[in-house]
């Protein structure tokens, strides 16, 4: 753990892009991965999608 905080940070950011932008502004190496919960996290839509597999 100590090593982690003493070494240069290289970040993979998933989801909210703003977090990646903030890190970039501070000079941290960051790769952003576009991700969001399937079907906007809506259980009803997920069950419809299950029906249509």
């Amino acid at each position: 753990m100590e090593n982690l905080f003493n070494s240069e940070l290289k970040v993979i950011n998933m989801g909210l892009e703003e977090f990646a932008e903030t890190l970039k502004e501070r000079g941290t190496q960051v790769i952003h991965v576009r991700w969001q919960p399937p079907a906007m996290g809506d259980d009803n839509l997920l069950s419809l999608l299950d029906k249509l597999k």
Binding site: Q36, A39, K51, L52
Partner: protein, 433 residues
Amino acid sequence: MSKIDQANQEAVKKMMMSRPVWVDIGRAKDVIPGMKDNLFLHAGPPITWDRMSGPLKGAIIGGLIYEGKAKNAEEAEKIAESGEIEFSPCHHYNAVGPMAGVTTPSQMVFIIEDEEWGGNTYSNMNEGYGKVLRYGAYDDEVLNRLRWLDEVYAPCLKEAVKLAKGVDMKSIIAQALHMGDDAHNRNRATTSLFIRTIAPFIVETDFGKETDYDAPRLDLSNVSEYFKGNKASVAAEVLAFMHSNDLTSLNAIMAACKSMALAAHGIENSTMVTTMARNGTDFGIRLSSTGDKWFTAPANVPDGLFFSGFKSSDANRDIGDSVITETVGVGGFAMAAAPAIVNFIGGSPADAFDATNEMYEITIAENNNFNIPAMDFKGTPTGIDVRKVVEKNIVPRINTGIAHKEAGIGQVGAGIVKPPMEMFIDALKELAK
């Protein structure tokens, strides 16, 4: 593979196998089955006069004056309100029209034949940029240009395409993607190829010698001073007009795309989108397996670059059938092929690549006809799957012109617009019933 996936593969295969060829031009009421004197076609899903946006109302008013049914805007509005004229989507007649898409009985239309699956699709003549009927403008300049297009330009092209024995539209789209077009908002290459293909035959028609005609003459001095002092041949005027308007090919391209979309329509169990269209009030989609049923939601307002003197608050909601291009895997879906388009709609070339890459997330296939050189000739993302749109929360990417929200003004810019997610969710619910 599930029965839905099999159906989608069949639908997208049929779409890609379609072979749209421009074979003829004719008067709408003579060549579009079901077209009649009191029927006006418009872009997008069905809509009544009272709910129409400014540009669509403007185009209807202009159409009524053009058809000789009204003397002025006031009279035209009364006729439109009275129910005397039937309004119907172009799509219900296998036609498509950019922006307001208003197609009246006397207008001349391109006839595109699907040489693989049979059947015809249609679209009227493109008027150029700025103050034009399809953006809701209807002053004398607009109406005179329409007369010239229908009485001089279209008859000349009709004779030319007969001599050419048809023009392969799919080949033009495929080549244009290699020349920096998206085949929707950037049409410099499609139009150049279109002109190059048809020009020898235009010259060969009787219009190559004819210099006198009754219709109002166009001012072509913006093309060359030559046209100011000389009475040119019809063929020369037609070619000069085609050259002056990068959108010359757009309507025929759209009808070709409609042909491809139609080939994929009616496949049982398919969750693929076969129609996307906007009427300036609502956005509507139809699916391959759900027949003629429209799923609609309020259209969004496009965001982009505005012509000098106009601003975002002037913009109307999204309008037009031209999104048929995205429906078959070009337009915004092929933006990576057209990085220069950002000069017209805003953003950066990297955004163009992002847009295309994102569309692979919601589509069924990589197109085997249309590909992108800068992406190692990868096929464009083709065949929108409603399930993927909802699952990924990614809506189709659309490039579009922007109309002024008031009737009679015209185009004020170009940009991008997002279709509303609600209609994709409604379509999904229908499929799951």
